[in-house]
């Protein structure tokens, strides 16, 4: 959104190297979501709508406290609720702030065919550039977190920008600013990891959550949104957070080796018919009886 300030490090669908890549390095920015102190107030949902200029849409009742079943093109930030039955018969009400994870290796960007429609800034934010988006939906197949959503009217894809416009001006994202419990933190990736480690340690040592830990999945190179979970061995319980997310191998193959296999096959095809023509030439129509003058 504010390319003028943020240096780009990766560009979708771009032939050749990224202009200026590697010239500048920036601190990786990161949101830390401590699910153990989230009260499910949804202030972050409202702040996201307000900052990004979307009006509140109808909620969808789905037998839970969730605003709607999943994020939509104009609703980028959603608290997911899950009444999780623990082994001992007790129930935990788990709440997780769901939004774009800002993967270090973004599947959406890998899948995108449009030059510059998805970019990753040097600070790690993955951002959609709607003016270059062609609305093909390939990013939907590339994302392991089910995040990019399609606007039927404008035929463009949308998702959380990690408030790249605010961050480029030295402000924290709108959701972070609105959080009343302090469960949301924003800073550099290293600082957020440290803070998360401290909190996970505290949960393990002082509160009896032996499996408490940090969700920062290595399958996508780590994410720009990390979670502290009571039970890091079961992230699925937190509204379907995938255990080992990675770019789907079909997407990797399609955007990697398949390109070269396919392009070479097409070139061989064209070369093949050209060589055939040079060696054997066109088919002559034989005047095999007394007919004359009928050749094309």
């Amino acid at each position: 959104m504010s390319q003028a300030i943020l240096q780009i490090s990766k560009i979708s669908g771009h032939p050749g190297p990224v202009p200026g890549a590697g010239v500048e390095r920036a601190e990786q920015v990161c949101k830390l979501v401590d699910t153990t102190t989230c009260i499910g107030c949804k202030a972050c949902e409202v702040a996201c709508l307000e900052w990004n200029g979307y009006s509140f849409t109808d909620t969808v009742f789905d037998n839970s406290y969730q605003t709607m079943p999943e994020t939509t093109w104009n609703y980028w930030n959603l608290i997911k609720f899950n009444e999780h039955e623990n082994g001992d018969g007790s129930v935990s009400l788990l709440m997780r702030k769901d939004q774009c994870m800002h993967c270090a290796e973004p599947g959406c960007l890998a899948a995108c065919p449009a030059d510059g429609a998805i970019v990753q800034y040097t600070n790690g934010i993955v951002d959609f550039q709607q003016e270059h988006c062609i609305g093909c939906g390939y990013c939907v197949s590339g994302c392991p977190f089910n995040i990019p959503k399609f606007n039927q009217e404008t035929k463009k894809m949308f998702k959380c920008t990690l408030c790249s416009d605010r961050v480029s001006q030295g402000l924290e994202p709108a959701c972070i600013k609105s959080c009343p419990t302090g469960c949301l933190h924003f800073g550099t990736k290293d600082d957020m990891r440290d803070l998360a480690e401290t909190r996970a340690h505290q949960l393990r040592e002082n509160y009896g959550f032996e499996k408490a830990g940090i969700y920062d999945p290595p399958g996508v190179g780590g994410t720009g949104v990390i979670y502290v979970l009571h039970d890091v061995t079961n992230p699925e319980a937190y509204g379907g957070l995938p255990k080992d997310p990675h770019i789907p191998w079909v997407v990797r193959f399609w955007k990697g080796p398949a390109k070269w296999i396919g392009n070479l096959a097409m070139l061989f095809g064209i070369a093949g018919v050209t060589l055939h023509y040079l060696k054997f030439g066109p088919k002559e129509v034989k005047n095999d009886d007394d007919r004359k003058g009928e050749q094309q």
């Binding site: 032939p15 449009a114 609305g135 789907p248 095809g269 129509v285 095999d288």
Partner: protein, 225 residues
Amino acid sequence: MSASRVISPVAKTDSGDRILRYTFVERLNHWIGGFSYVYCLITGLAFWSPYMFWLATLVGGGPTARFWHPWTGLVFAISVGWMYDMWRRDMRITDVDRRWSKAVKYYIENEDEKLPPIGRFNYGQKLFFWLMFYGVILLVISGFGLWFVESIPWSLRWLRYLAVTVHVATALATIGGFIIHVYMGTAMVRGGFTSIIRGQVTRAWARTHHRLWYEQVTKGTPPGK
């Protein structure tokens, strides 16, 4: 449709006596299919590789190409369905074709006199027809998966990946057939391109390339002036 059944066997023209090979309706449909396929090819290649994304600018830019690609694909599918209706009897693979296919080496090396005589279409044309027929079925089914990707629920997302795989693989297979088809129709088999535009071929052309068909359509008509 019985368009192919009512070919008048011999049509006289100013340029000598020629044989009607493709009716107006057959030619019209061939070119509906041809142009819609080429549109899908150009736009599809644009989506396929960043190094060919510039092709989208030839047809109005990326968003426009993305909007029309699936609709034009449906036009192509309807055209192929119509071809199936017109040509499926002529496209049945027969024993003659199997013998011809064993001698295909002579066809490739332009020693056609060593080939067994064949009917209206040769084995290669029939293979291309069935490649496009089954190809378009797969392309349409997988294409709907790409077109309405968000309608495939997250829990069935393997269908999204399957759709991508099938669409790409089938498209590449049809491109292979298309390259050979265009080469043979324009450069290799002289007279073929004219026949699909104006509909007619010379008697010598028909005798050389499709002798059984020639004999069938000229039955009772002496090859006179």
